[in-house]
């Protein structure tokens, strides 16, 4: 029995791939494709990046697969959005990963929210307010204006782990931000029709985007963050939308369609379906493509195109 067990363990250990001698790349796991894309831009050939979410998920409900624990176990760095956006899956996966290099407050834990000025920081922490995020609304990835803060955190994080490539990371980061800046000039022009437009979303995840492009949030279909609406809340919301002449209902693609359709139809607003991460649509594989898609789709909706 003991001998058999020993032989079994030996066989398992023999299966462990030996990667000695291979070019040493930093193995980076990003929680969402937006961060994976930016990390690839910054890290270039020095990093090997994968993403936990594919982009179609709700960031607050990414399924916790055991295979993610294995990926995290082998990672040199973890790039996350932060502000507790990944609270539903990341703490448990980190524990299951057994990887001391990427635990909180270690050099491999790259929190992209460190330079972001959070919106909607709660004045009170209580579950009666719903599934609130104590450090503020974490959906800043939807605002391309935050890219410089995210990229800065990634550049610093990768440089901590690979100081020899710090100059390259800085150069790559600056080059990528120049592309984002260039796109931003275009986005500001394209998004001009969005200014002052009123909208309702299912969940409060378009706050940063709205502030960037001058949209006004009238309410959310959820009665509180993470809590499905009651019939009276829906009735009140529709009434408020009628009074304020709300233009658009945004259904984030991971929320149910039927209720958003009903709300939009009842209030006479346009229904728009948008991803909340890169990869949420086939044409949104990159972060810039993702912002492109959201602006283009919203502008088309408000201009009746």
């Amino acid at each position: 029995m003991t001998r058999r067990l020993f032989l079994l363990l030996l066989a398992v250990v023999a299966l462990v791939p030996a990667d000695a001698g291979a070019a040493k790349k930093l193995r980076v796991v990003a929680t969402i494709p937006d961060l994976a894309d930016m990390t690839r831009q910054v890290g270039g050939d020095a990093v090997d990046v994968s993403s936990i979410a594919t982009g179609v998920e709700d960031i607050h409900a990414v399924p916790m697969k055991p295979s993610f624990a294995v990926v995290l176990n082998r990672a040199d760095a973890l790039v996350l959005l932060g502000l507790e956006a990944e609270h539903a899956f990341l703490p448990a996966l980190l524990e299951a990963s057994r990887n001391p290099k990427i635990q909180r407050d270690t050099p491999g834990y790259i929190d992209c929210s460190v330079y972001v000025q959070p919106e909607e920081v709660p004045t009170r922490l209580d579950r009666s307010l719903g599934d609130v995020h104590p450090m503020g609304n974490p959906h800043f990835n939807l605002d391309p204006g935050q890219a410089r803060h995210i990229v800065r955190a990634i550049v610093e994080g990768l440089s901590r782990l690979d100081p020899g490539n710090a100059a390259t990371f800085k150069k790559n980061g600056d080059a990528y931000l120049a592309k984002v800046e260039e796109a931003m000039t275009r986005w500001q022009q394209e998004a001009a029709p969005l200014k002052g437009k009123k909208f309702v979303s299912y969940h409060p995840d378009f706050i940063y985007f709205a502030e960037r492009f001058g949209m006004v949030q009238v309410g959310t279909i959820e009665i509180r963050p993470g809590v499905d609406p009651t019939p009276s809340h829906v009735a009140d919301l529709i009434e408020r939308m009628r009074q304020t002449k709300t233009d658009v209902v945004i259904r984030e693609k991971h929320y149910p369609a039927s209720l958003a359709e009903t709300v939009a139809k009842s209030a006479g607003a346009k229904l728009v379906e948008l991803p909340t991460m890169a990869g949420g649509q086939p044409e949104t594989k990159t972060y810039i493509g993702f912002v492109d898609y959201n602006i283009r789709t919203l502008v088309k909706a408000v201009t009746g195109g």
């Binding site: 398992v12 299966l15 055991p66 295979s67 082998r74 448990a92 920081v121 004045t123 809590v227 149910p256």
Partner: protein, 451 residues
């Protein structure tokens, strides 16, 4: 404010400079001289303004975030968290900037000190409290409001090397420490060691607390064969095998396994042969992005069951769970098919107190399906088949449709009907209704084990 002062100072300087300029010999030369001086001053002003802009940026970054409009209570505001000693991009770190930083930090020091005074409380463990109550009615058992549990869970890191957690459970009968364990966090080779009282890594639903089960009652096979939750006082070693595929192996040693397993007295010393030894292996296959299959094998072996007969007992089980989780709608669509099959191999007394023991292999299982139809409604169906551990010809079957209604992530109502065939008593069938109400307050962690 600071910027305005500087601009005013520069303008005043400019005025004084103009007024105090010496009158030239000729008007033309004087105008030229005045123009040159004006240009110089303009350039100086531009530089000062630029410097002020940079300093304002530094101040903005070092200051706490502004409170949201019209707060009802003092806002809990998260300040930006620049890395210590790192200047914002585009701003050169000069001695002036460093001095400015020092001045600002000195200015906000009272607020920082006030905040620091609350820091010791940050060392308090995370605390959660769960209430689980059930109303039941059945033909044989009549009706009852069952205060099932009020459970306090606490957890925190001990030091860089380990964490600890405890679950203290109060029921209508008593208060007991359900779990209190230390878990290492920094052992090499993907190893963790757990010690204390905890739920042994046997099977799947044995490691769930009652309130976390997908249905109202723990499957009969787990109650009868394991002894309810797989609670054990002992030590456990777990290894996440370092290969690209998920494989987890566990070995453990316990006084006994099973909170209600009365074959062994938990509170007495024993020989090494009287402990229970556990081996478990589990893995998971991603059949597709949205389909997965978790498979596990467990074996709990007790060489000698002291209180009963000094003969051995072996409890083996396999569990497999299929999950369909559509990634884009995981919060309101999904499907789970969970199964556990157990085989109890044990010498049992042929009738109570006669001292005559006979080897009995009893088999039991449960299988359930659960659909996620909306964010709130999860209907399911549980089937159970259990052979009695004393006489395998005496079997029980249970059929339980149920419906879970999630009021929110932290509150849940569940209605279940159970039809039992082959239960104890002269009338060997029963029908029961259960209404369960469960709520959690405080810290709530989505654990990997309970996924």
């Amino acid at each position: 404010m600071l910027r305005s002062c500087v601009v005013l100072t520069v303008v005043a300087t400019l005025t004084v400079a103009m007024a105090g300029a010496p009158r030239p010999a000729s008007a033309q030369a004087g105008e030229e001289q005045l123009r040159r001086e004006l240009d110089t001053l303009k350039e100086q002003l531009r530089r000062v303004e630029q410097q002020m802009k940079q300093q304002e940026e530094v101040i903005r970054r070092l200051s706490p975030a502004p409170p949201p409009p019209a707060p009802a209570a003092p806002p809990v505001v998260t300040a930006p968290r620049p890395a210590p000693g790192v200047a914002p991009p585009g701003v050169a770190v000069t001695p002036d900037v460093e001095e400015l930083k020092r001045m600002i930090l000195a200015e906000i020091q009272p607020q920082l000190s006030a905040a620091n005074r609350t820091f010791p409380s940050q060392f308090n463990p995370a605390i959660g409290f769960i209430v689980d109550t059930v109303f039941s009615h059945s033909r044989q058992q009549k009706s009852n409001f069952e205060f099932r549990s009020a459970e306090i869970g606490i957890s925190a890191s001990i030091d860089p090397f380990a964490r600890a957690y405890g679950i203290i459970n109060g029921t209508s009968d008593d208060v007991e420490v359900e779990e209190a364990a230390i878990v290492t966090t920094s052992l090499p080779w993907n190893l963790t060691v757990k010690g204390g009282r905890f739920f042994a890594d046997f099977g799947r639903l044995s490691t769930f607390h009652d309130h976390d089960l997908p249905f109202v009652n723990r499957p009969l096979v787990l109650d009868e064969y394991v002894g309810g939750e797989s609670q054990g006082d002992g030590v456990e070693l777990n290894w996440l095998v370092p290969i690209p595929h998920y494989v987890s192996l566990t070995a453990g040693m316990y006084n006994k396994i099973g909170a209600e397993n009365d074959r062994v007295d938990n509170g007495v010393s024993r020989d090494v042969s009287e402990f229970t030894y556990l081996l478990r292996g589990s893995t998971s296959f991603n059949l597709h992005d949205e389909h997965s299959l978790d498979v596990g094998f467990s074996d709990a072996y007790t060489p000698e069951v002291r209180i009963e007969n000094k003969k051995g007992r072996n409890l083996a089980g396999i569990d497999f769970t299929y999950r369909y989780t559509p990634l884009a709608s995981a919060s309101y669509r999904g499907f789970v098919w969970g199964n556990e099959l157990l085989l109890n191999h044990e010498h049992r007394e042929t009738s109570p107190g006669n001292g005559d023991f006979k080897l009995n292999n009893a088999f039991g299982m449960y299988s359930y399906i659960e659909a996620r139809l909306t964010r709130r409604f999860y209907p399911g169906f549980l089937f159970e088949y259990v052979e009695d551990v004393d006489n395998k010809n005496f079997m029980t079957k249970k059929y339980s449709p149920y419906l879970t209604f999630w009021v929110s992530e932290f509150q849940r109502l569940r209605l279940q009907y159970t039809h039992t065939d082959g239960g104890p008593g002269p009338d060997r069938s029963d029908d029961g209704f259960f209404l369960q109400w469960t709520a959690v307050i405080g810290s709530h962690v989505h654990s990997f084990r309970d996924r």
